[in-house]
Symmetry: C2
Subunit: 341 residues, 2 copies
Amino acid sequence: MRGTSVLKNINRQFLIAARPDGLLKESDFDYVETSIPEPGDGQVLVQVQMVAVEPALRGTMVEDTNNPANLQIGDVMGALAAGEVVESNNPDVPIGTRVQGLFGFADYVVSHPKAFLFSVIPDGVPMEAALYIFDTSGLTAYLGMAHVGKPQPGENVLVSGAAGAVGSIAVQLAKQAGANVVGIAGSAEKCDWLVNDLGADGAINYKLGDIDAQITALMPGGIDVYFDNVGGEILNAALGQIRLGSRLAMCGRISEYENTGPAYEPSNSANIIKFCRHMERLMLFDHQDKFPAWREAMTTMIDDGSLQYRVDMLDGFENLPRGLIRLYTGENIGKQLISIT
Amino acid sequence: MRGTSVLKNINRQFLIAARPDGLLKESDFDYVETSIPEPGDGQVLVQVQMVAVEPALRGTMVEDTNNPANLQIGDVMGALAAGEVVESNNPDVPIGTRVQGLFGFADYVVSHPKAFLFSVIPDGVPMEAALYIFDTSGLTAYLGMAHVGKPQPGENVLVSGAAGAVGSIAVQLAKQAGANVVGIAGSAEKCDWLVNDLGADGAINYKLGDIDAQITALMPGGIDVYFDNVGGEILNAALGQIRLGSRLAMCGRISEYENTGPAYEPSNSANIIKFCRHMERLMLFDHQDKFPAWREAMTTMIDDGSLQYRVDMLDGFENLPRGLIRLYTGENIGKQLISIT
C-alpha cells in the first residue's frame, strides 16, 4: 500500500553512461525517468531528500573487481543519501521514519534495514549531520583515528585533505585525543577554517609550496600519525618525516585518481618499513559490526558541540553529477551535499 | 613459608654485562650467584625449569626507549620461561602449579599472576608445548595470521624464517585457513620439514639464490599475505611481488639486527603504498586482552593434532647465552629451548 507522500509519479535517476577516463564529466551520466519501484517483503520505499557525494564514488564507476561497491554501466549511480520512508513492509521502519543508506542518484529507492550502511537517523539529529557524521565520511575518519592512528596526547598528527569531509572530522578527533594536529589544505580560507574553527594547532597551504619545510616547522620532532586523503607528493613529503612507531591511515589518493599518466613514485616509501608501526588502507566494509558504537560516540560529540561539521549544499536533482565533479576540483569546503526535493 | 622444593640455596643468574655491538657474544652476559628471593603479598616464587629464547630478545638488550621490554646493564637477562611454583602467597596459584612467564635467565624468580605473559600451563599440555605455543612465538604467529594476514582459501601466503618458532606456526595457521602456503628457509632439511611435516605447499631455500624467480614459480599470481621474520633482501623480493589488497605482517628483521653498517634500502617499498591493504609490525603488548582466546584456540589445535611443534633443546644453565646466540646463526630448527634443571 502506497503512503500518501508519494506525490510524483516519476522516479528521476542518473545512470552510469561511461566508465570515467581522466577527468570525470557530466556526459559520464545518463538522466532517465522511470516508474517508482514497489517494495517487497520486509522492504521499504524511501523518498530521497538529500544526497552526499565523496571522492571515493569515482572508484565505484571504474572497473575494479577488488571494490565490493563496484558498479556497471547502466546502473543507477551509487551514493549515500537520506530521506523518508514513504511505504513500508517492515514494522521496524514505519512510514515517516528518517533513514539513510546507499540510495544513489534517484528520487525513490527500495531498501531494507539490513542493507549495507542503512541506518535510522536518530531524533534530533539534522539530516545534514547524519549524512556527514554517520555515513562513510564520519565512519572513515573514526576508523582512521580511533582504530589505526590512535593518537596519544602530545603526539604529532598530520592530516591531508583536512578541509574535506573526512579530513575535517579526522582533525577534530585527533585534537580531542590531545594531539598536536596540523592540517594540509589548498587555500588560505580552508586553512583559516582548520585553525580558527576546528581547533587545529597549525595548517599548511600546500599551494604555497615547500611542504617539507612547512611540516618541519610545525612538527620538528617528526610525524606520529599521518592520515592521508591525497596521495602523491604530499604523501611522499609526510613519509619523509614519519618517526619510529608512526601509524599511517591511508584513506584516499585524490591527487592520483584522475592521473592517466605513469603512477607517482614516492621516493620516501622505504621509511614505511623502517619506521611505521601500522599502515592500513581504510576499508569500511571490514568494520560493519562497529558502526553502531562509532555512530553513538559521534552523536554524543555532536550533541555536546565537540564535533563541528560544515556543509556545502547544492540544490536541485540536476546538480547531482556536478556536485560530485566539483570534489575533484577542490571547490567544496566541508561535506558536499545535494538537496533534491 | 618455603615449600620443600627449594632444595638449592643459590640462585644462578645471567645479567646483561654489555649492550650488544654487532654479533651477540657470551661476554655480553655476566654469570652471578645470588640468594633466593622472597615472594611478597600476592606473589609466588617460581623455580624455573625451562627457558625459551627468541630473536627479539636481542632488541631488549640494546638502548631503545620505544621497546617496553627494554633492559639495562646489570639487569637479569629477560626471557620467557616455565617452571613450578615452590612458594605461594597467592591462593589462585598454589605450590606445585606449573606456570610460565617472563622469568628470565635465572633459577628462581618472584612473579605475580598479573605480570605480563604470566599464565598457568593447562593440565595435559607439555611444558615444551606451552613455551612454544602459549608464549610470544605462538601468540605472535596468531596475531600475524588471524588478525593481520587473514588469509582466505586459495590465497598465496609467503612466510620467511618459516622453520623458526614463529614461522613454523604461521605456516600451519595459514594452511589451516586453506591458503596456498610457501615457506622460506635456509637449508634443504628445513625445507623438507616445512613441506613434509608442516603441510606447506612449497618451500624456498634462499641459499640457492634467485629468490624472485623461486617466488614467481610457486606463486605466479603474486602474494596476498607476506609474514616477514627476516627483513632485508628477502623482504624486498616479497614486496616486489605483492598484489593489490595484500597484507604484510612484519614480525622481525633478523637479517638486519646484527648489521652495523648502513641500513638495507629495499627498492620495492613503493609497492606497499600501491598494493598493500594492511601492514602491521606485530606488537604483542597491544593485544594482551586477546591472549586467553588465542591460547585456547591453539590448545585445541595441539589436542587434535592440527598444530605441530618442534623443539631444539639444549641442556644446562651454562648454555643459556649460547642458546640465544645460535638463533642468529640459523643453527636451530623449530623452537630453541634450554632445560636448566
